[in-house]
Subunit: 467 residues, 2 copies
């Protein structure tokens, strides 16, 4: 077969140049047929749909195919003629002339057989689940969304900044963090007080995995103007839920000279462009997920693209919730954080569209958010999505050095750890704003999947770091 | 100024629509002039060049500008008329009508003054160095290269896979790793043998920061066909050199049904496309680096694009080195790894072009590389670049289960840690190949910078995790 160049399955399925010799390589999804003819569905990962290979039983009797290992999961090469298909569901198929098996998959051992598997079971074999229709679709959409993120920012003049993963500072002044060390685990060096002497550790200080690249992103924005990060972040929270991961990817744009209004405009335009990109570039994968898991997926995605997000203040939202007919488990009071049930009520019942809430009470938000004139609220914004809740959290940042220092004192954030961050307010400070988008939350929304462990290739959560 | 929309400096510099009112926001790079007129160079990070603001001394006397803080580093907004420039070096300038200072930068405190700073000094203030010409250029090029990586793979049908950062396995069976834990640092739980009981740690097992996403990439390639990773990787090596970082970014494509030849073709085409992208998209930044740091930078980049890489086997290279006139510090013998001096001789003296060396002795390469028929060499490839040495390392992978298991035993890689990796050879195994490109090595080559700590925003190395 060596002089014939391989073609991808997606290319063949789109091809109108028929009755020619082709070479395809991929994995057997199904093999069925009778004593006259065998149909082999071959998928090479290039897209959702497989190509049908038709093998005449005279040349390829079923017993021989079986003996050669042409079974579900086997890697094969097929040389043959690309012809118009008589069957429904596909326009072309391959009349097999030569079939080569690279690697078989013993049907008595291979975990992925024809029948559907539960998502729970597939999580146990995360190394094989990309071979299923569901995870192939999810991972291709995940790729498309990653690219759409980079393309959006590149097209709009933003610069991608790789902020550090190992860090000595805690951006939120809060999150539970993973320690990073090379000291002996049983006999670390101790100082006179009996504590571990981190000056002897690899970095000469105690270090953790980052919870956010925002502070370093702000540093870069104060030089390059428009920047974004897209990298892994970590939370050592013992949360065994369908919404939390210990390791997840975050996108954080940060823009000099932006105020809260600009920030909301960016968030809305960005999210809409991502959803539009998915609708345009992943129709087959989305259609499958729509049919298989969530009949309202496509209409929900279109709805987000076509409608303005509702913007209102936290204070206005609290008024709406207080007068709502619905009974809530948690009471609503100005000054307390909104619960998931409240956010869902606003998005799914009251406004029936994505909502941007702004100007939250300062006491429930991070130290770096810009104080409003009233001294009680900050220029925060949360974007709330149907089914997901908060998908974006952001704010205009406090650009006044004294006000920032006061907030750090009030919230017990040590100045000496963030001297470099304060320098951005000391020298050439400017209004700026940004936000964080949890990438897996976005993928949940785009795919309609219910569990965040099913939208990342190898999920990390309490008691699980396999693969 | 509120009804006038801000324009970026780069947009203004390209504009031919003159004699109109514009609003620009950015930072003062220099202010100079006399008692009649002041010239303020404003840069907003959007590109290398600043725009010249001309401030008539009648309206803007120097004393008033000084008092208002219009000094190097200050963040300002300028409203004025965009006009053709009389000065050389720019086609347009702004006649200032209104200047607003957002944040000044006290000239007695601000570390970045007019005079040039050493790269060593700038490393100490990595939070401010993006404001310099050099680091602005490097970071914009770094962005362009990141985007070019994603664009290349997306355009060619590859899927981006986020492989895990926290891992229980060591891909190379070698690298020194950072431990990730949430156990008490002074009193971790111990088992009966007196060792730390990692079953009580966050993930229920000992975990480290990844040294490579390759093994998980292979898993994904065996389902999606063509994939790549682009993420942070970590080495806890105590190397205080201009070539090593403890935290760096790596790009790792992995392709099903690729052999060593395909892999070399991909590596060469990929690298050339990246260099071509830089030449097309970053002319100003590259020109500055060429003039300032490395007079041969641009010609070296063009040379790489225009010439085929020389391909030869390790064995052929050893023959060349043995008969070379040059004296080497380290002797060359078949079976030993090549030293930097040998690689440089081949690339810079003998062939005078990038070189791809293949088929290395198995004993100096990783367990997963495909054994050649002779049983002595493996289908490895290293791409060697002028000034950089090894920029890419890769191989065709061993796809035969038994041979792979034998290599793992010989090299003491425990099978039980990699059961999932072996499953890819157990079920539907196929020939495949891939490589790793150290992203910072690439940026060194593209920018002509000499120290790897100067091509990443916040470098991590022994005794340093500041910012």
């Amino acid at each position: 077969m060596s002089d014939l160049r391989r073609t991808s399955v997606q290319e063949l399925l789109r091809s109108t140049d028929l009755d020619r010799e082709v070479l395809v390589k991929g994995w057997v999804r199904t093999r069925r047929g009778n004593k006259y003819v065998q149909f082999i569905a071959v998928n090479d990962g290039s897209g959702f749909n497989s190509i049908q290979v038709v093998a005449n039983a005279e040349q390829f009797p079923e017993e021989k195919l079986k003996a050669d290992g042409v079974e579900n999961g086997a890697a094969i090469a097929v040389r043959g003629k690309l012809v118009a298909s008589q069957g429904k569901g596909q326009s072309v198929e391959i009349q097999a002339e030569e079939i080569t098996v690279y690697g078989s998959a013993d049907p008595t051992m291979y975990p992925l057989q024809k029948k559907g598997h539960s998502l729970e079971f597939l999580r146990e074999i995360a190394h094989l689940r990309p071979r299923t229709n569901t995870f192939g679709a999810v991972l291709r959409i995940r790729h498309a969304m990653s690219f759409a993120v980079h393309k959006y920012f590149n097209d709009n003049g933003y610069f991608y900044i790789h902020t550090p993963i190992i860090t000595g500072s805690d951006a939120e002044g809060a999150g539970q963090m993973f320690r990073v060390t090379t000291l002996s685990d049983t006999k670390p060096p101790l100082n006179e007080a009996g504590a571990v002497d981190y000056s002897q550790d690899f970095f000469g200080k105690a270090t953790n995995l980052t919870v956010s690249g925002q502070l370093e992103g702000e540093v870069a924005a104060m030089a390059l103007g428009k920047v974004y990060t897209f990298g892994p972040t970590f939370r050592a929270e013992n949360s065994n839920t369908a919404r939390h991961l210990a390791e997840f990817w975050m996108i954080e744009p940060e823009v000099a000279f932006f105020d809260l209004q600009d920030n909301m405009d960016l968030a809305e335009d960005f999210l809409k462009s991502l959803v539009r990109y998915a609708l345009e570039h992943c129709p087959d994968d989305l259609q499958f997920l729509n049919d298989q898991y969530d009949k309202e997926l496509l209409s929900r995605l279109k709805f987000v693209v076509e409608n303005d997000f509702k913007r209102l203040t936290y204070t206005e939202a609290v008024e709406i919730l207080k007068t709502a007919k619905q009974k809530f488990e948690f009471p609503v009071d100005w000054g307390t954080d909104l619960q998931s049930e409240h956010e869902r009520y606003l998005v799914e019942k009251h406004f029936k569209k994505p909502v941007i809430l702004t100007n939250y009470p300062k006491d429930i938000k991070a130290f770096y958010m810009k104080l409003d004139e009233d001294g009680r609220t900050v220029r925060a914004m949360d974007v709330l999505f149907p089914g997901i809740g908060e998908i974006i959290g952001g704010s205009q940042r406090e650009d006044d050095l004294q006000k920032l220092q006061r907030r750090m004192q009030e919230m017990h954030v040590p100045e000496e750890d963030l001297w470099w961050y304060l320098d951005t307010r000391r020298f050439g400070s400017a209004p700026h704003a940004g936000f964080g988008l949890g990438f897996e939350r976005l993928i949940l929304f785009i795919t309609g999947m219910a569990n965040i462990r099913d939208v990342i290739p190898f999920p990390r959560f309490p008691k699980s770091a396999e693969f």
